[in-house]
């Protein structure tokens, strides 16, 4: 193995990591905000808003992200109305088109995950809170939101990893993140395997750090669910918070 080449590849690819992380961070935050809106529409929005939310989730989960990204990047620029509008300085930039597409797509998936977490809130807890006079935002903040957050974290971490990988598609609308840079290196050097291994290593490290961070958060949020240290470990059933992710 040519370690000199591996090292220089690593240096080149690491320079693209901030772009990947910027795409990831912006789209996850935007997507989460949108997902919360979608869930509120679905659960408390009346028939029309609820139907809209359902159709949104169906469309964005049922079609490939790439076609959504091209629709925003190439499709919207075709209309003079949009080219003349206030949004054009944003939609003209490949970076923002990629962020928007990633955010719209993940919002559909995240909305379903949040809804799943919401269903894990026991009605008794809400009744108990109401009986002591909590209602409205206080009820959401103190009872519903914490339980939902805790229940949705395992599925959420899976979605977050998918998002790290999805940022690779931004290279197809000329944003030079890690995968795009790797592709350029491959076509310049024809050393496919080495470049692939270095790029994959970078993604695995990013994924690993994010998974650990979420596991840490989950651990901190559930001290009351942890088992006490076992003395004789046989014959006890372990209850798990893990919810199946679709």
């Amino acid at each position: 193995m040519d370690f000199e080449f591996l090292a220089s590849t690593f240096v080149t690819l690491v320079k693209a990591v901030p772009t990947t992380l910027a795409l990831f961070g912006a789209s996850v935050v935007l997507g989460a905000a949108l997902a919360v809106v979608l869930v509120v529409m679905r659960t408390a929005g009346g028939p029309i808003l609820s139907a809209f939310s359902r159709v949104y989730v169906f469309i964005f989960r049922g079609s490939p992200l790439l076609i959504q990204m091209f629709l925003i990047y190439y499709g919207l620029g075709q209309f003079a109305v949009i080219r003349d509008s206030f949004a054009w300085p944003v939609l003209r930039e490949p970076y923002w088109c990629a962020v928007l597409a990633l955010a719209f797509c993940t919002a559909g998936y995240q909305a379903e995950i949040i809804r799943g977490g919401l269903q894990a809130v026991p009605p008794r807890e809400i009744e108990a809170a109401r009986s002591v006079g909590m209602s409205g935002f206080l009820l959401v903040r103190r009872i519903i939101a914490p339980i939902t957050l805790r229940a949705m974290l395992p599925a959420y971490s899976t979605e977050i990893i998918l998002m790290v990988k999805s940022t690779a598609l931004a290279s197809l609308v000329t944003v030079w993140e890690v995968t795009g840079t790797a592709q350029r290196l491959i076509s310049q050097t024809y050393r496919t395997m080495e470049v692939f291994l270095v790029a994959t290593l970078i993604y695995l490290v990013i994924n690993f750090i994010i998974v650990r961070l979420i596991a840490l958060l989950e651990h901190r949020l559930s001290p009351h669910l942890r088992e006490r240290p076992r003395i004789s470990g046989e014959g006890r059933t372990v209850t798990s918070l893990e919810t199946p992710h679709d």
């Binding site: 690779a168 695995l204 679709d246």
Partner: protein, 240 residues
């Protein structure tokens, strides 16, 4: 020319091409599911094996193929495969670039990714088999091979159906990325039609709708298959 003509089946319409491309997407996804089944079965066997080396290799496979971006895997197979083919070509004194056929490269790449997910599905299905069934088979004297064929495989197939449905949907959407190899599947064909007519919005919407049709129909087929298989579980065949 109105937009109906553009996506229709007339002389200037792209309707025929788009339908052909939809079939291409379907067949490349089916091929990748089949390739993935081979990879998945092998990797699941490695992960369940009693050999430490096999388990580590199996874990490495699923970690890498599920952690690396799909696009990167496609580049690896397409460029790497083409280099290998060219090297073989040079052995036979053919100087020049030989490309790996894009259908093969795409199906192989998506199949390798799908194999990593399928391995986890099969592993989960194996663990779902009641221990008592295997013990019962052993107690009446079934050998390893017979036990595998009569008890384990039929149940793994049934238990893994919901998981395979998810993998199929994932592969269907991953197959859009094969467009980078130039295969004329749905994504690539929409892109070419959009570029040559300058009607980007129209063709990406139409392409997206065709993908939605594919995911919806196949989702319903898998749901029907699951209902059918559920019948065999409802009679309480000695399971509690």
């Amino acid at each position: 020319m109105s937009w109906i003509d553009l996506i229709g089946f007339g002389p200037n319409g792209r309707g025929g091409l788009l339908l052909w491309a939809t079939l291409m997407t379907l067949s490349v996804t089916a091929a990748s599911l089949a390739i993935g089944a081979v990879f998945g079965a092998g990797v699941a066997a490695a992960k369940l094996s009693s050999s430490r080396v096999a388990r580590v290799l199996g874990d490495a496979y699923t970690t890498i193929l599920r952690g690396a971006p799909e696009l990167l895997v496609i580049y690896l197979v397409y460029f790497g495969g083409s280099q290998a083919v060219s090297a073989v070509g040079r052995l036979f004194e053919y100087e020049g670039f030989l490309g790996l056929p894009s259908f093969l490269a795409g199906a192989l790449a998506v199949g390798m990714i799908s194999g990593a997910y399928q391995a986890e599905v099969y592993r989960g299905a194996f663990h779902a088999i009641a221990k008592g069934e295997i013990e019962a088979a052993r107690s009446i004297g079934m050998g390893r091979v017979l036990r595998f064929r009569r008890i384990i495989i039929p149940q793994i197939l049934r238990f893994s159906l919901p998981g395979l449905g998810n993998v199929w949907q994932l592969s269907l959407k991953d197959s859009a990325l094969i467009s980078v190899t130039g295969l004329a599947e749905l994504m690539r064909t929409s892109q070419l039609a959009a570029g040559s007519t300058r009607q980007y919005f129209l063709f990406f919407i139409v392409g997206g709708i065709l993908y939605l049709v594919l995911t919806t129909i196949s989702g319903q087929l898998f749901a029907a298959a699951e209902r059918r298989v559920a019948v065999s579980f409802s009679h309480g065949l000695g399971r509690s």
